[in-house]
Amino acid sequence: MYIYIDGKKISANDGETILAVANRNNIYIPTLCHHEALDDVGACRVCMVEITHKDWGGWTNLVTACLYPVEEGLVISTSSDAVRRSRGTTLDLLMARCPTSDVIRWMAEENGEISVRYEQVDDGSKCIMCSLCVRACEKMGCNAIGTVGRGHDKKIAPPFFENPENCIGCGACAAICPTGHIEMKDTRTTREIWEKKFDFVACEVCGEPVMTEEYRDYAIANRDLPADYYTTCSACKKKKLASHFDKVGS
């Protein structure tokens, strides 16, 4: 099928979302709660685009690109006035909520000048409630964190706000967080996240951290990986592989 994004005719497949087609064609649509590996939820609303169709009699609609499935002949605008207003308002609201987040400020500047200032909710939090961390943790199979409460007071937290029993210290949540809200403190031998302390497995070659002991135990129990996966760090793994190829090559 064919769709039109910002005037360009583009081929698309049944079942794809607008965002998937745009990404494949290097058309930029900002996102905050989307990640290729995870199911989309439509929470941040910054991927808003305006759609219409020649059969719709002039009717247009604002939809989230990350969720909307393409259909034959769909006409999409990624930066119409309506899109910029909607996205601008969403970002203005996020700026008020997370005034210290650089990512949000950059995105807002990119969208156009900041039009409206709202009362700042200065609780020092950079969390925009995109739930990427929760979905990443779920994908890991750990379900160590979740959302608590609702409305404006909704928070990401481990159950009962205690240090999460299921957390293996993999760091996926911190890595995926778009605003850097999740604190993770690493030393050469320890990691602290969600107020839980972990010891690292040291690389048997260089002594650098490989992964937390809990992650290792979890992976041994749940994944089928070669034994040296748990004992050498990725840098040394690479070196080993390279020398292996060197040998093969010579």
């Binding site: 439509g42 609303r45 808003m48 909307y68 909607s86 909710v121 959302t147 609702r150 409305g151 404006h152």
Partner: protein, 627 residues
């Protein structure tokens, strides 16, 4: 005794009719939530007991036993509508409505009315206008002008009795539908013009047809009984008072769309509705009205009663389905509609309680009958909860297109204490407020939407001149802010900011650009939010801003609340020309800010006054003024 087929159903009905024919007097004790809270069950027990003691032939079940001569049938019904003056006892065929009945009144009712046919004057409804006692529903303004369809059985059938429902014609509609092609059933519903009563007003027949047309090996029928609107109780009354009607509507839908599994999702706080529906489902199963081969047809259909998740947003279709599936009741984007991929990703029909309750009447009486009521694009009748500053409050049902004036001043009997009417709020928390210039508006889906409000599920709150529209908007926004699930940014952050802006106005700190800011933010929240809660959350503020702009401007420009509600910008004083020195306000003032001797003009000490408004409320002479 099961009802294996259509013939047996009719046999059962005629046996019940015969039993009914002998009944000389029917005593219907209202056991709706309001009356129950005021002691209706005790009244019922006392009535039965006392009648037995008096040697009257009471029957509590409509059993075709035929032993007694001229039996008296005493039953517990659902809400009879006029909860304000409950507990109600309605006696037929004489149409005597006893109000405010207490256990202590029972002796008289039995001795005088049931045994002797006398009407007890002091238990009758007193018309506030001329203080005259009115005997029955036919005489009382509150009931005149109403037309009951969805509420037909609520208040008349015995709420927990299958036999009572069958005797009143129950399941004859299902019998008729089963003889029709599913397609014909859908065509009837389409032709009736029935639109969803849960808020959106989506054409019900079209929804059913899309479900049939969607591909899937399994289909579901779900009844939305979440009723999260604070102050609304229509669906509660139907589920408690006429549970079999809802079930019948659902079975007809199952036949039409080809479903074998149904759910009724009942609000968390409605234990009696859960109890009555569960009992009704069980009774239907035992009698072959649910389960396999319903009434001897090929239709198999089961219903489970599910308890709501507790949050307002759980009434939203996608959140509701997630909640029944056992996940957190959070909405999802609806780019693929539920009729195609709903519960467990299968084609699903979700309809409101009242919507299902209309279906049996449509099949029985015909689509033309239904469509002849109401307006062209909003056919039939609609139940409302009439509350607020009106003289008569309660549960009502009127034809669509009835004027607001006829509801507020006819059925509602006008404003309490004869104060001026200011506005009526329709559509629940995310509805809108309409002022005096809309009093002649015909109430239907489109007229309300055009006027900037909405039908919603049928809440109707009447407001007098002492209501501040900024305050009202703030109140509803606060509710919605707390009920937002918090998933998407425009709703979670936007409604919070809208509320903050209104709060700023009510404190007298509004700036000239704030009204524009409110307007723009409201519009963006509407178009950007994920689900219906966020999309409609700005309505209370946008509609009041449109219809009562001067009041907003007074808050911003003059730092003044014209209605005298917003405390920070209101001063209470006593008008010396009007004050009679009656001491009433002095006694009512919590911080003792009022001084004055008997028969001398009272004065408010502004340093002590907390602007609570109690004095203004109690003063009979309108001497307390605000500025």
């Amino acid at each position: 005794m099961g009802i294996a087929n259509l013939k047996k159903l009719e046999a059962r009905r005629s046996a019940l009719h015969k039993a009914h024919e002998n009944v000389k007097t029917q005593v219907r004790v209202c056991s709706g939530t309001g009356c129950a809270a005021l002691g209706a069950f005790e009244v019922y027990d006392a009535l039965v007991e006392e009648s037995k003691k008096a040697g009257l032939p009471v029957q509590v079940e409509l059993a075709p036993c035929g032993k007694d001569k001229d039996p008296i049938f005493v039953s517990l019904t659902g809400c009879q509508g006029f909860c304000q003056i409950g507990p109600l006892v309605h006696i037929l065929p004489e149409d005597i409505l006893y109000t405010g009945v207490k256990v202590s009144s029972v002796k008289d009712i039995v001795g005088k009315t049931l045994a002797d046919g006398q009407v007890i004057d002091k238990l009758l409804y007193k018309n506030p206008e001329d203080k005259k006692r009115l005997k029955g529903r036919a005489d009382i303004p509150f009931y005149k002008g109403q037309e009951l369809v969805a509420l037909e059985g609520c208040g008349s059938v015995a709420a927990d009795s299958l036999d009572s429902y069958i005797a009143s014609g129950g399941f004859s509609s299902l019998a008729k539908a089963l003889k029709m092609d599913p397609d014909q059933v859908i065509a009837e519903v389409e032709k009736s013009g029935l639109r969803g009563r849960g808020g959106g007003g989506f054409p019900t027949g079209r929804k059913w047809r899309s479900c049939v047309n969607a591909t899937g090996d399994e289909r579901f029928v779900i009844c939305n009984g979440d009723e999260g609107d604070p102050g609304a109780f229509m669906d509660c009354c139907i589920m408690e008072g006429d549970p079999y009607r809802v079930i019948e509507g659902m079975i007809i839908c199952a036949h039409a769309v080809g479903s074998s599994t149904g759910f009724i999702y009942v609000r968390h706080e409605y234990p009696r509705a859960v109890e009555r529906l569960s009992l009704a489902v069980k009774t239907c199963e035992e009698n072959g009205l649910l389960g396999t081969k319903i009434l001897g047809s090929d239709l198999n259909f089961d219903i489970s009663v599910a308890r709501g998740g507790g949050a307002f947003v759980c009434g939203e279709s996608t959140a509701l389905m997630r909640s029944i599936e056992g996940s957190v009741g959070e909405p999802r984007a609806k780019y693929v509609r539920s009729v195609q991929r709903g519960f467990r990703d299968k084609p699903t029909v979700l309809n409101n309680v009242e919507t299902f309750a209309c279906v049996p009447s449509i099949i029985n009486e015909g689509s033309d009958w239904f469509a002849s009521r109401g307006t062209e694009k909003s056919s039939g009748t609609k139940a409302f909860c009439l509350v607020g500053k009106v003289v008569n409050t309660g549960l009502i049902e009127v034809p669509m297109g009835t004027k607001l004036r006829d509801v507020v001043f006819g059925i509602g009997g006008g404003i309490i204490d004869g104060r001026p009417f200011k506005a009526v709020q329709t559509g629940g928390p995310s509805g809108g407020c309409l002022g005096e210039n809309y009093l002649d508006l015909p109430v239907d889906f489109d007229a309300l939407a055009e006027a900037g409000s909405m039908m919603g599920s049928g809440g109707m709150i009447v407001m007098d001149d002492r209501t501040c529209m900024v305050d009202v908007a703030k109140y509803f926004l606060n509710f919605l802010m707390e009920e937002s699930c918090g998933k998407c940014v425009p709703c979670r952050e936007g409604v919070y900011q809208l509320h903050a802006l209104l709060d700023k106005l009510s404190r007298g700190e509004g700036e000239p650009q704030d009204l524009e800011k409110i307007q723009r933010l409201g519009k963006e929240i509407q178009v950007s939010s994920l689900c219906g809660l966020g999309k409609s959350a700005p309505n209370p503020v946008l509609s009041t801003l449109k219809n009562f702009r001067e009041e907003y401007e007074a808050h911003v420009n003059d730092k003044r609340c014209p209605a005298g509600v917003c405390r920070d910008i209101t001063t209470f004083t006593i008008d010396p020309d009007k004050c009679t020195g009656c001491l009433v306000c002095k006694k009512a003032c919590p911080p003792d800010a009022i001084s004055g001797e008997k028969k001398q003009v009272h004065v408010i000490d502004q340093d002590k006054c907390t602007q609570c408004g109690a004095c203004r409320l109690v003063c009979k002479f309108d001497a307390v003024v605000t500025s």
